[in-house]
Symmetry: C2
Subunit: 473 residues, 2 copies
Amino acid sequence: MLRMDFNFAEIDAILNARSIAIVGASGKPGKFGNAFVLTQIAMGFEGPMYLVNPGETEILGRKTYPDLRSLPGVPDLVYITIPAHLSLEILRDCGRLGVKGVIIIAAGFREIGPEGESLEREALRLAREGGFRIIGPNCFGIYNPRNRLTLLPGHDLSTTPGDTAFISQSGGFSVHLARLAKSLGIHFSAVVSYGNATDIGESDLLRYFGQDPQTRFIAGYLEGTRNGRSLLEALREAARRKPVILWKVGRSEASRRAVCSHTGSLAGSSEIWSAALAQTGVIPASGIDEILDVLLALKHLGRRPGKRLLLVGGGGGLGAYGADLAGQEGLEIPLLGADTDTRLREILKRAGAVVANPLDIGTPLIPLPMFDAAIREAARNPSSDILVFDLALNFGRNMVGEEGLNQATDTLILARKESGKPVAAVLYSRACDPEDMKTEQALRRMRHRLLEQGVAVFPSMARAIRAIALANR
Amino acid sequence: MLRMDFNFAEIDAILNARSIAIVGASGKPGKFGNAFVLTQIAMGFEGPMYLVNPGETEILGRKTYPDLRSLPGVPDLVYITIPAHLSLEILRDCGRLGVKGVIIIAAGFREIGPEGESLEREALRLAREGGFRIIGPNCFGIYNPRNRLTLLPGHDLSTTPGDTAFISQSGGFSVHLARLAKSLGIHFSAVVSYGNATDIGESDLLRYFGQDPQTRFIAGYLEGTRNGRSLLEALREAARRKPVILWKVGRSEASRRAVCSHTGSLAGSSEIWSAALAQTGVIPASGIDEILDVLLALKHLGRRPGKRLLLVGGGGGLGAYGADLAGQEGLEIPLLGADTDTRLREILKRAGAVVANPLDIGTPLIPLPMFDAAIREAARNPSSDILVFDLALNFGRNMVGEEGLNQATDTLILARKESGKPVAAVLYSRACDPEDMKTEQALRRMRHRLLEQGVAVFPSMARAIRAIALANR
């Protein structure tokens, strides 16, 4: 009865709000309303930001208003950071003023039981009556680098706009993913933490980002839905236009219990979900790390990049391991053929290196000119679609120095250009001595350079292979 | 015909050699014989180390001998670092002199085909004839912190003796694991890279470490065996005495190919292997990371620590995720009961935190005194065997400062002491900005303190849950 038809412009207006009001703004450290104001200021939201608190006239040196009716203008978007039971009065004001959207941050709605549920129902009724839309309640808000709105603990997110959208029922995960993505060079069109999804929910957001020309990739974290049919349609529709990665939790009884307490969602049977999702064309993922891995794979390797891998590693064990993982995920390690084998054998005149696919370049690292020649020769071979390098053993410690790391990086970048094939690299130091940070820093610089040059970087062979398999779904 | 019965003292004499000779020692950078000498010097081997090279009289300022017969004493152990085809002559000398053991580093034997195979057969015959034992060929040697022998690129391995043995057909993995283990506080009784296993192989080493009183845990990386029955017996025998973790590769066709080129092993059918290994009581693992995770779990949580987890995380999504993973691995997340729920609700008077198991302590982090009280209250509850904390979202950035990290660490350590239950923590920053190393360093310090105090630390919830499940096998 209260369902609204999907409307692109309504969601667009909220995400691209040019003026906001924060109800419950506070100068007191420890309050949500304080953290939220500080976060938005630090992020540098560019439009008017009205602070509302009936008990204050000035917060953090800014004029503060007793209520929404006293504002000098009508904000596009109102944030409600006060406790749940006080929010209905604010929603009535929103309706009277004609705001476009409201984001309710507070928890204490549907997820706490019948009392919260009726509060949430009333909030939705007021939104319909007042002609505005709600994101939340029980959420961390939205992040849009273009107008510099940000999630609750998101003062340090990137200000660079990008091509990835992430929608999440969990506020914690929305911030976590956006933060990790920043140093991996993944930038966002928007991130939406939508919590209990009382009004704008997963289906609306999928439709929105499916149509949004700025969004090339969509990822989502889902606990449950109140309209399975609509969700599956939205997923199918979005996945026809662009890659959609979906992480659905609630596979165990304890997990369904957690989901219900978290966002008041019914997780549903995991078998039914898996079967239904398989029909939609979405890429199934599990965990924030896996979503990031798949985003890197899609960005740098492409959608369905091919299943034939050239696997290069330092040490024969690594090749055996990589081939095990590839086999498990339905990927292939084709033979290179006699000609390439001969040329490689000439380059790698050294027992211990194994000329084949997987190609063992030895460990500790062979001389860099030999490394360079072997990699470029093997990359030229037409049998493979993707080049996968596991350099974890070679560069796990400062065995070649930063200059050596730079040269090896140049080789991978050149092999990519010359062969025209996408390249994935495994670069990882789990060594965690707190007093030796130099190796870690050198590896991060190498990772950074590789990512900038279009090479996908993963922290383990297992994650690289899994991401490539998922990008091929 | 050439098989030898297992003899503890023979292997013991090699691992605890008090004098060594290095045939092929060299002063020329880039040569194996050079790297090997430098590595042993850096590690500080304490007994006589004789350098042998017919072309030199002095290497790195040390007197050098033309051959083994010219040495002033008979070394316990001879390393052969010269190419394969030159090694037989040296082995004849070893037999004449009466050395106890030989380690052949060079590749170029069985793994390269018929010619190498006959070379290897002849080497074994000479060993039997000369009354000494061989490790290798095609290996990186041995690491023993007690006499300070070390693997080929292992100058920086720990000099602290420990209770873990690792045997590996891959030299690269043997060094990789030993190096990563160092900063995780895992120390070794010995690591043996045994390569082609022409003489001393996996079964002998399993029997040896099974009986070795200094070894409490055994881990192994295996490509194949030439005597399956003997291996299965050795595994059963060792696993009856102490935990044995085994990683067996060769599950795909490409992997079996890699294994054959690497150590000349036949990997065999993976179905037969899985079925056979399941009967031996060993813990199956896959990957160096997983072996390390299981070692940490065994060390800090114990063997078969129980399947009932109290799962504490920042953010409701994390609880749902953890519960999904636990369900998948056959672990339980029991309810806490009304009394604990009530007391937790009093402590966590704050919407957004969810009082249950999984316990959501909110994100960003709740005030530390509240965190402390809630954790200790929940830990006391008798329903769980193990406490699992995922603090990845809370401490992913410097949100609480180093002082806050220290206080949170104190809480976990105290909860462990008060409850008498083992504790696992997930601590992980994948943020990889090369110019921000402070967060990483603070996290490493926290990890270090937790490990020192007997808390197992894992880099992701998925790996923590998997390791706990494997420790319960």
